[in-house]
Symmetry: C2
Subunit: 368 residues, 2 copies
């Protein structure tokens, strides 16, 4: 039995998503910018996909933008943010695509979250300066699953005329939400919800001031040039639709599996959970004292249990997680920590089998 | 019979390409950055695809970069070019993704090609200034099919220590070439050679100085962050392999079909070809005097013949082609011009049928 518990890195494509993608892939020479029959058909498909996403997110279709990845969208919004020399508020535990964008900017406050793993609204309030124009935070922290109270922070942003970008990648499909009014943009990735790699969709408020990252043709309301990845876009819309179909049941299922995993491990092992804040349903970042995460991941891999030690975008190098270190967790604990991330496709049987294997592997490593 | 003659806008996906893409799409949760079994498998697939492209282009695999579109790659290379305040040489007939990038820069010479449709090497030589650091040109002009002698210009670039970016999108698979030594980068798009939309591959010389467009994870040799679009990359490599399989025969076929189209039309109609320079095998940009291209395209569309009046990236608006206008072609002629672009999937039967239909439609429109 092969058990995949690294769903915050990427997920298995849903067969229904593939079916939708094949409309483009099997079909015809579809360029949504062409003016003939095929172009008009492609354009109609593109509009339908955008409308589907807009309807699920309860936003206008003109506010939905497709790009090739959440990294691209976040780079575009942060580096393209047109209020120059503005003060920016973020944390030092954001995804590399945010962290590596803002760390090169001049006027940034990197708030510390502590072991809680998320900032509190009073921290935001204290950090605001007269020239603060942008806040960038994750809705859910992908490495720990800790949830940020974006509703409260959106209110602060709104009251203070500050733009607010939210990385929604690890949140969507795992938590029910309405995008609060004070949020300027929320960015998502299809491949984290059983959709295709190579497609991101984002809500971007009409008044958010930014320069496009890719200039050229007039695609995507003149905001993102280049022939649209139609199969990716169709797949993304379908993936979102599926994620929202009986979403309560899906969330409940993931939560019960995640809780079961922690419960079974706690019975036999002395573990602790990284991230003390409220967590989303599908993530468990676990410290196994006196165990090398690198060794444990290797042994688990041999036993066909797949997890990771940090976000996939940094996990080929075995450096200890910047996110956990910046949360103030000791390096020894960080080096003993593994992230398990569950999807709606995992089963109870898998979790029971995985728990047994993890316990065996940890005990073996301890005896070595 | 439905006849698609707009292959420079996009092409039909080859079934063999789809089969290759399904390795990722049907398969497993493949993130090439993950460190477990699935990640390593995905990483191996990515490396193979890159090696395949490198081998066909006769370059090192570290010199092949994947992005989401040729527009993205060209934006990255031009706007990210790190020699600031350098003088740049280009023309005013480049694709929008080049034209819209350079037109915002300060120190650019836009050379005029005249009705020939391509710059001559002596024009380049005369335009060089002491601070000229970059030349950006198309290998083949997508709207006219006119070929640029990049070999001669590459030599000039090399002799003068100037970086040279080549848009190879309309060239690859349509002309046999070796990338000359003086070329710093050549950029391609998979969906123009029966590959998927959403994937570009480019040769970028190791010494080409540029800032990445997308910061974040360490994917693509730290040059382009974001989870790799593996199905797109596998499809792109396969599409290139197929384009190079018996490439002489494929080019000969396209050339004979294109020549046949022009011959049949010339017999019955008073037409002229836009772009006096040497042309690639698959493009025919034809002026039909006293006929509105917009009307003709509409009538052809009703008769299931699909062509376009300019590059797809601008063709939803019915503005006369900037490329043809800037070549010095009169506006009346530009407004009467249509681009037919052929692929290896077109047949002689199609061309004969299309020619008949075009002749009928033109004659009808003239009598109206």
């Amino acid at each position: 039995m092969s058990i995949y518990l690294d769903n915050n890195a990427t997920t298995k494509l849903d067969k229904k998503v593939l079916k939708e993608m094949l409309i483009d892939l099997k079909g015809s020479p579809y360029n949504p910018s062409s003016n003939h029959f095929f172009g008009k058909k492609a354009h109609a498909l593109l509009i339908q996909a955008r409308a589907k996403i807009a309807s699920i997110l309860k936003k206008e279709k003109e506010e939905i933008l497709f790009t090739s990845s959440a990294s691209e969208t976040l780079n575009m919004l942060i580096r393209g943010f047109s209020k120059k020399d503005a003060h920016i508020i973020t944390t030092d535990i954001e995804h590399p695509c945010i962290f590596n964008c803002v760390k090169n900017l001049k006027n940034v406050s990197f708030l510390k979250t502590g072991p809680c793993g998320v900032v509190k609204e009073d921290q935001i309030l204290s950090a605001i300066k007269p020239n603060t124009k942008l806040i960038v935070l994750s809705f859910v922290y992908s490495e720990t699953g800790v949830i940020c109270d974006i509703e409260k922070i959106a209110k602060i942003a709104k009251d203070n005329n500050i733009f607010f970008i939210v990385d929604g990648v690890a949140a969507i499909g795992k938590i029910k939400f309405t995008i609060p009014k004070g949020v300027s943009s929320m960015v998502f990735s299809a491949h984290k919800i059983h959709g295709p790699k190579g497609c991101s969709f984002a809500f971007i408020k009409k008044d958010f001031p930014y320069t496009p990252l890719i200039l050229g043709g007039s695609q995507e309301y003149n905001k993102r040039a280049g022939t649209e990845n139609l199969s990716g876009i169709l797949g993304a819309a379908k993936a979102l639709e599926l994620a929202y179909d009986k979403i309560d049941q899906k969330i409940e299922k993931m939560q019960s599996l995640r809780d079961l995993l922690e419960e079974l491990l706690k019975k036999e092992l002395n573990i602790s959970i990284n991230g003390k804040g409220l967590r989303v349903c599908n993530v468990s970042n676990i410290a196994f004292p006196n165990i090398s995460a690198e060794d444990l991941l290797m042994v688990l891999n041999q036993n066909k249990i797949y997890a990771s030690h940090s976000s996939a975008c940094t996990s080929r190098s075995f450096k200890p997680s910047r996110v956990l270190l910046n949360m103030g967790i000791k390096e020894t604990q960080v080096k003993s920590s593994i992230r398990f991330s569950i999807s709606r496709m995992n089963t109870k049987k898998e979790i029971i089998h995985a728990s047994k294997t993890i316990i065996q592997c940890v005990k073996k490593l301890k005896n070595n």
